[in-house]
């Protein structure tokens, strides 16, 4: 039972994933509000856009941590999402500020549905990842 770098990575990832879960929930709520007309898309995009990059960076950050810790399986599980984030950000609409969401197209039913689905999928992924990291952390702590 030793507190290794790997165990630290898992603990950090655990905490950060908890944050990401909040991000995902926030995202889902925001799009639900859009769909039910509670919010103006301009305001909503203004609140959502600043959160996009932090989310991606947090995720990328602990991916790098796992890389350093040589946790290949965990890294492999996270690679698809990382790749998706990179692709998503590359194909964002033309905009000067950071972020992904364009208030003029966000109300398009296809995009709205896509964003909602994306939110749910991410939430599921982060939840599973959360328990996986918990397991991973305990496993590392116990086995070393």
């Amino acid at each position: 039972m030793a507190f290794t770098f790997t165990a630290f990575c898992y603990m950090l990832a655990l905490l950060l994933t908890a944050t990401l879960i909040f991000f995902a929930i926030w995202h889902i709520i925001a799009f639900d509000e859009l769909k039910t007309d509670y919010k103006n898309p301009i305001d909503q995009c203004n609140t959502l856009n600043p959160l996009v990059l932090p989310e991606y960076l947090i995720h990328a950050f602990f991916c790098v941590m796992f890389l350093c810790a040589a946790e290949w399986l965990t890294l492999g599980l996270n690679m698809p999402l990382l790749a998706y984030h990179i692709w998503r950000y590359m194909s964002r609409p033309v905009m000067s500020g950071p972020g992904l969401y364009d208030p003029t197209t966000i109300m398009n039913a296809d995009i709205l549905a896509y964003c909602q689905k994306e939110g749910w999928c991410k939430l599921a992924f982060y939840l599973l990842a959360f328990f996986y990291y918990l397991y991973g952390m305990i496993y590392v702590l116990v086995s070393s």
Partner: protein
């Protein structure tokens, strides 16, 4: 599940009325029901709507909600009514005919009218009152004509079913039938006596009206039905046309209907009424803003008013229109009839899958009934029975369309079910049919509703759906592979529009739907919303009908009688006091702009139209110019001359004197005029080549944000300084690339953000781009797209070198400056529960799922909406769509314009195909393709377009099992689909392989997004006419002018002969192509040159020559021009001149280097279908 075409099952055969007769048949069936006897008044009521249109003042004739269309919609062959109706009648038709897209309800209207008219005659005969009719007929005054005409029509109609079928079959083949209507009229005359209608003279008149003997196809019915008001309009006689019109007009609102019948016999009554009308009219004139004329005694009032701009905004009515302004007048004949007052249970709800024609006891209570029904009912009831035999004659009728689930039950006794398949489902072998294009314009199909609903339905000019039969489930829609969506033209110029002033605007409490003709009244006190099905209370105020001054008849209120109405909104509908009209002009004055010389034209136009700018006494106006600096003009009242203030700090723009830059138009008029006179010459020697558009727009935004309003930006080059500067992105070598077209999207989001800011401050930005080189319209257009502005583009504009563009700018400006405008608008589109909005197309900002924010709304803006079916619609037989446009008029009034469209729901694939509105579908597809090319790529969009045909035709092929699989089959309703898609693929926006400048392409895309359907269709598929041999055959009359109606030619060089001259109408531009061997007579008499060689290369006007052929050509072109808001430019193109490429690129059926010919395209589609089905069957 899918009934094969031709199935005897009623649902399967329920179709769009393929032709007139079809409508008539269903109408006949309707009136066979005793309960519907009261409908007899419908005919006239519909006519009423058309009256105003006859005035011809507005090209966009408003056809009142009930629709009435002069043309048979379903039939592509429908020929202008003019062929049969003579001088009198044609004038009326002119207006509808001008609109390419015509109202389709017409069909059924005439039908309805006729059959309804059937009723009344009988009583007359029976009651031995023929004498009065005789008198009427013989006196032959216009009044009488209007009354008696229906008889003749009735006669035609009922006695010659065989004739109809003959005609229709001919028509459907697209061949001219030369004798049809002749036979008709003969028959009518012959039959007359036997039916013993004394009004024979009317029939004679009718007979004499024919101007042409060989009308290609026959539409016998409709002329008749409209004859009533026709006379009134175009006839030169001084005798009161207004009465009859007014009379008609009145009907839907004030219960005059019976007068149609009684008038001839009782001239004195009629006079009386006329006086009433006139009286109230005068009030309306005096006090135009008080729309409820007799508001003195009421809390609410309503009156139909002509919607000429002035009238609406409170100006005085033009004289001509005045007669169409009807207002509530006491109805002497009305008082006695409440006897058959509404039975308590009066719910023929649209939502209730019950035939809307009620059994007699309920008939009175039907909310959709015209007010006047009750008058007629009593006498008519006895007639109904006798008339039944006549209806049975319709069994032979080739097409009839029993309502989806509704009519069939009620028609059971009439054995109408066993009819052959409807025309719109007739399979057409596309590869073999050489002439798919009809000779006459294609009209919108009429939704397959029962007669009452049809009559009330919204005009297809304002509101169209791609599928007039809505599929029950998304699965069925997916199976049909057709786009489902709405095409809207909500702020169209209307000639007549009921305007309602009321303290409480009645709306559904849960979904906020405005009360409309398709709601059902459960009893007197409650109504059921047709969108969410909630039961609402009828407010006390609504119980009183200001038009009839009667109490307890909520279903007769104008809101419930018209599907297009306008409410004057109370302060509940305002977030702030209504804003004044504010106009700001932002002008490019760099070297490039001065060189192009647009300033002279603009200033001149402004000076001319300064007084006509829409607005009230608060109207404000301001000017800014910019090059590398920004110039403001202080026009504060009291200054001796305009003061120019220069701001050179373009990185942080500020307003030098915020209060005096936007000034009151009337207080500072002299200064403004001084400035406009000085402006064109102020910058003549400028050396400044830079353009700081971005900072200028930021300044404009600051200036406008306290009030909102309209910013008009004139730009002549790429913005090169400050925020929003752009680089040239176009590679000229890629212009004709067949692969990738890049840079269709914006380069920066500066303009989009600015537009959103502007939109938030209720400011719209209109862009006039007049440039000779690439100006990155894709980026600049964003400023208008998202602020609900409009975009005008004049490529290679130069005031002297390119006079045709200069002339176009001048004319466009005139329209732009004087057209109606609505400020701080929002538009909400609601639809029946189960349907939902998917995507919107047009210039606006989408603020929530069904709410569009429109800083400005103009009458030339069109919108499209894609729909999806979220829940199955099994528990309803009708769906409704409602758009509500809330805006501030230029007079500072808050108004709500509401359109409601009602469509049937079907559950079989065949019905879905039968109801396709191919023009609407193609316009929606074009919109979707624009989105696709921007978000994905142009080639994706092109593939999607081709797939749209392949999918829908192969889906159709698999539903119709008995077809040869080798042939490319399409239902008749879809037969133009491949042609239109090919036209789209060859349109500037989507073409590849042909050199197309990026700005031209982007502009074409912008137009597709923002044009209303009528204009967009011309852009996609131009009309080609041969004009060197115009004759008066089939001519129509407009404002005392004879307008020839040459047949449409297909867009192929095979139709061009060297001996001819052809006119191509591409919407915004006209080409006249003169063949090398063209008859010298034509060149001399029309073009004014002795021979072909002497015609100059650049010719943009037809000289006014005093020859018959010149007159005909000019009246035809003028007539075409009048039908659109922006005057098109005319180019005369000689064969052999280099300009002819411009003309030939529009011949879309021909092969080009880069694109298929129509036939090749069909083979390509067939190939694709074959490949697809190959997988399916293997």
């Amino acid at each position: 599940m899918s009934a094969p075409a031709g199935s005897p099952h009623p649902a399967a055969s329920a179709q769009i009325p393929p032709k007139f007769g079809g409508a008539a048949a269903s109408g006949a069936a309707a009136s066979a029901d005793p309960g519907s006897a009261p409908h007899q008044q419908n005919g006239p009521a519909q006519n009423q709507m058309q009256v105003p249109s006859g005035y011809g003042l507005h090209h966009q004739n408003y056809i009142a909600p009930s629709g009435h269309y002069s043309q048979g919609p379903g039939k592509m062959t429908s020929l202008p009514l003019d062929t049969q109706c003579g001088d009198y009648y044609s004038a009326l038709y002119t207006v509808p005919t001008q609109n390419v897209v015509t109202p389709s309800t017409a069909n059924q209207q005439p039908g309805a009218q006729q059959m309804y008219s059937r009723g009344p005659p009988a009583p007359h005969i029976v009651g031995s009152t023929p004498g009065s009719f005789q008198g009427a007929a013989s006196s032959a005054s216009h009044l009488h004509t209007s009354a008696s005409q229906p008889y003749s029509s009735f006669v035609n109609h009922y006695n010659s079913p065989a004739m109809y079928s003959a005609n229709s079959s001919v028509a459907s083949q697209g061949f001219p039938s030369t004798c049809g209507h002749y036979a008709m009229s003969t028959v009518s005359n012959a039959v007359y006596p036997s039916v013993s209608y004394p009004s024979l003279p009317a029939g004679d008149t009718y007979g004499q009206m024919f101007t042409s003997q060989n009308a290609p196809t026959v539409r016998p019915v409709k002329d008749n039905s409209f004859s009533g008001q026709n006379t009134a309009i175009s006839h030169p006689s001084p005798l009161p046309p207004p009465p009859s019109q007014q009379h008609h007009q009145q009907q839907s609102l004030s219960g005059y209907n019976t007068l149609t019948w009684s008038a001839p016999g009782l001239p004195s009554t009629q006079d009386n009424l006329i006086r009433n009308h006139m009286g109230s009219l005068a009030i309306a004139n005096n006090n135009p803003t008080v729309t409820g004329v007799d508001s003195s005694s009421t809390t609410s009032s309503a009156s139909p008013m002509p919607n000429s701009y002035d009238a609406l905004e409170g100006g005085s009515y033009p004289d001509m229109l005045s007669s169409s302004a009807s207002s509530p007048a006491p109805d002497p004949t009305h008082e006695p009839d409440p006897a058959p007052a509404p039975a308590p249970a009066s719910a023929p709800a649209p939502a209730v899958p019950q035939p809307s024609k009620m059994a007699k006891p309920f008939g009175y209570g039907y909310p959709a009934l015209q007010p006047g029904y009750q008058n007629a009912t009593a006498p008519l009831a006895s007639v109904v029975q006798p008339s039944n035999p006549v209806y049975s004659g319709f069994q032979q009728y080739p097409q009839h369309y029993p309502g989806v689930n509704q009519l069939s039950s009620s028609l059971g006794g009439l054995s109408l079910q066993s009819s052959p398949q409807p025309e719109s489902l007739r399979p057409v072998n596309l590869t073999q049919e050489r002439n798919v294009l009809p000779m006459t314009p294609v009209w919108a199909p009429v939704p397959n509703l029962n007669a009452d609903l049809k009559k009330l339905n919204c005009s297809p000019d304002s509101f169209r759906c791609t599928l007039t039969n809505i599929p029950q489930t998304q699965a069925l829609l997916n199976k049909a592979k057709l786009p489902l969506g709405l095409l809207l033209h909500p702020f169209r110029d209307l000639t007549q529009l009921p305007v309602i002033t009321s303290n409480t605007i009645v709306r559904c409490r849960s979904c906020r739907t405005y009360i409309n003709p398709f709601v059902s009244f459960i009893d007197q006190r409650r109504w059921k919303c047709n969108l969410c099905y909630r039961v609402n209370d009828v407010p006390e105020e609504f119980m009183y009908n200001p038009l009839t001054r009667s109490y307890g008849e909520p279903h007769k209120r104008p809101e419930v009688q018209n599907s297009t109405v306008e409410f004057i909104a109370s302060s509940d509908y305002m977030l702030r006091p209504p804003q004044p009209a504010v106009y700001l002009f932002v002008l490019d004055v760099s070297h490039n702009a001065v060189e192009a010389g647009y300033m002279t034209i603009l200033c001149q136009s402004l000076l001319e139209n300064l007084d006509k700018l829409p607005g009230d006494s608060r109207t404000r106006i301001g000017f800014m110019t910019f090059d590398s600096t920004i110039h403001f003009y202080n026009l504060q009242e009291g200054l001796s001359q305009p003061q120019m203030l220069i701001v050179s700090d373009i990185d942080d723009v500020f307003l030098p004197t915020p209060d005096s830059l936007l000034v009151n138009l009337y207080e500072s008029k002299e200064l403004i005029k001084d400035l406009l006179n000085a402006l064109p010459n102020m910058f003549t020697n400028t050396r400044e080549t830079h353009s700081a558009l971005g900072p200028a727009l930021q300044a404009a935004f600051k200036l406008m944000s306290p009030t909102g309003g309209r910013v008009s930006v004139f730009q002549t080059q790429l913005p090169s300084l400050g925020a929003g500067l752009l680089q040239s992105r176009e590679d000229p070598n890629q212009r004709s690339s067949t692969k990738v077209v890049q840079h269709l999207g914006p380069a920066t989001d500066f303009y989009k953000k600015l537009a959103l800011d502007c939109s938030g401050q209720q400011t719209a930005v209109d862009l006039f781009l007049l440039s000779s080189q690439y100006s990155d319209l894709a980026s600049l257009a964003c400023m208008s797209k998202y602020s609900a502005g409009c975009i005008y583009y004049y490529p290679s504009f130069h005031s002297t070198h390119n006079p045709s563009q200069a002339e176009k700018l001048q004319k466009d400006l005139k329209r732009y400056l004087t057209r109606k405008i609505g400020f701080e608008a929002v538009m909400r589109i609601r639809c029946t529960k189960g349907l939902s909005m998917h995507t919107f197309h047009g210039n606006f900002f989408v603020r929530s799922t069904d709410l569009l924010s429109l800083a400005n709304i103009n009458p030339d803006a069109g919108f499209a909406v894609q729909l999806s079916i979220e829940e199955s619609l099994t528990d309803t037989s009708l769906v409704c769509f409602q758009t509500a446009l809330l805006y501030t008029s230029s007079k500072g009034e808050r108004r709500i314009r509401v359109h409601t469209l009602c469509l049937p729901v079907v559950n079989s694939l065949a019905d879905v195909y039968a109801g396709v509105d191919v023009q609407a579908a193609i316009c929606l597809l074009a919109n979707m393709a624009v989105d696709r090319s921007i978000s994905s790529s142009l080639s994706d969009a092109r593939d999607a377009l081709v797939n749209a045909i392949v999918d829908s035709l192969s889906a159709y092929g698999s539903t119709v099992s008995n077809l040869q699989h080798s042939a490319l089959m399409a239902p008749s309703s879809l037969k133009l689909f491949p042609l239109y898609v090919l036209a789209l693929l060859k349109q500037k926006a989507f073409r590849t392989g042909t050199s197309t400048r990026l700005d031209d392409r982007v502009y074409a895309m912008c137009q597709i997004k923002s044009q209303p359907l009528v204009h967009l269709m011309k852009m996609i598929h131009p009309n080609l006419y041969r004009i060197d041999r115009l004759t008066d055959e089939g001519a129509i009359h407009v404002n005392d002018r004879i307008v020839p109606q040459p047949p449409l030619q297909k867009l192929s060089a095979e139709k061009l002969t060297r001996e001819g001259a052809f006119l191509m109408d591409c919407g915004s531009v006209f080409y006249i192509w003169v063949g090398k061997g063209c008859d010298n007579n034509f060149i001399e008499n029309v073009l004014g040159y002795p021979n072909f060689a002497s015609i100059p290369q650049k010719m943009t006007h037809l000289p006014e020559l005093d020859t018959l052929s010149s007159e005909r050509a000019r009246s035809f072109i003028t007539w075409l021009r009048d039908s659109r808001p922006l005057s098109p430019v005319l180019h005369i193109v000689k064969d052999e001149s280099p300009a002819k490429a411009e003309f030939f690129q529009h011949l879309i059926e021909d092969r080009t280097e880069a694109a298929f010919s129509y036939y090749e395209f069909l083979l390509h589609v067939q190939q694709q279908i074959y490949t697809q089905s190959g997988y399916g069957f293997a």
